[in-house]
Amino acid sequence: MIRRVFCACFSLAAMSARLLAQPGQEGFVPVTGPVTEQIPAAPLVISSYAFFFVLLFLYVWTIWRRIGRVEADMRALERRQAEGGPRR
């Protein structure tokens, strides 16, 4: 039984490989008529620079926010110390 299943799978794989195989290119074909580039460069260049500035602003904002949070904690702690501070 296992041998039959194995043979069936092997035959199926061999047939698929033959059907899916593409003929190899045998030479280069020269372009006739005007051609345009397939991938426009401008969106890629603009995306690259835009991504940098967005990333930079986000990072600076996270630093600013983290510093603000720590300073707020320090102020709260100083107030507790000034009030005679309940011990934890």
């Binding site: 991938i39 460069a41 401008a42 890629l44 260049v45 995306s47 690259s48 620079y49 991504f51 940098f52 500035f53 990333l55 930079l56 990072y59 600076v60 630093i63 600013w64 983290r66 510093i67 720590v70 300073e71 904690d73 320090m74 702690l77 100083e78 507790r80 110390q81 501070g85 011990r87 934890r88």
Partner: protein
């Protein structure tokens, strides 16, 4: 540095405001045309990343063997910069590759090793965040090995030739394309200034955190 910080922020802002104008005005490269203009920030960001790696490596050695607290602050701050600049470097490279190579991603030795390098420093930050007590020393060891990987990433294009341009591109740029040569070093200067400013701000955050911990301990005593 406190007195210089704000004037340097103004200088950096002016440099980054002018950079896109200068990049727009520089002449096109003959084979890649417009997409080559990604190069100016792409190269500069890897230079900035290299500077951050050097700081992280040196700070990690000092912290690991001398235990200097300020060195630990510089280590974690510069590791964060490595990840930020690395993400942009890989992203801009992917956009450039889409046009130049026809694919968004290529498992080229330089690209693959640069990705591994960024992952090492991402690991550094994760160890710091989730490693618990003593993770600073483990992270410092990671920082040293991450810094030791950097020269291999740089030389990878010469040792294992593949699709990524090798290091000769920069050596011959001044003779072949003087406009691009001047502009790329302008961008490198702007990025190095940015590294100094971000590092200063990020180290201040670590110093404030250390001060807050000291205050909590004083209150408990």
């Amino acid at each position: 540095m406190k007195k210089l910080f704000v004037p340097l922020v103004v200088v950096a802002a002016a440099m980054f405001a002018y950079a896109p104008v200068a990049i727009n005005n520089v002449e096109l490269e003959s084979t890649m045309l417009l997409v080559q203009k990604i190069f100016y920030f792409h190269f500069a960001t890897w230079m900035a990343l290299t500077a951050a790696i050097v700081v992280c490596g040196v700070a990690s050695v000092i912290y690991l063997f001398k235990g200097t607290l300020a060195a630990d602050w510089y280590g974690v701050a510069s590791a964060e910069l490595v990840v930020i600049f690395g993400v942009f470097g890989l992203f801009s490279g992917s956009l450039w590759g889409r046009k130049a190579w026809g694919v968004w991603w290529q498992w080229d030795p330089r690209v693959t090793m640069a990705t591994m390098l960024v992952l090492i420093f991402l690991g550094y930050l994760m160890v710091r965040k989730y490693g618990g007590p003593g993770s600073e020393k483990l992270a410092a060891a990671m920082g040293i090995f991450g810094a030791a990987t950097a020269p291999f990433v740089y030389k990878s294009t010469d040792w294992w030739r593949n699709i990524h341009p090798n290091t000769n591109v920069m050596r011959t740029l001044g003779d072949k394309f003087p406009g691009a040569w001047n502009l790329v070093w302008y961008c490198v200067a702007a990025f190095l200034l940015l590294v100094v400013l971000l590092l200063t701000a990020r180290v201040r955050l670590e110093a404030l955190r250390a001060e807050l911990d000291r205050m909590y301990l004083a209150l408990e005593d």
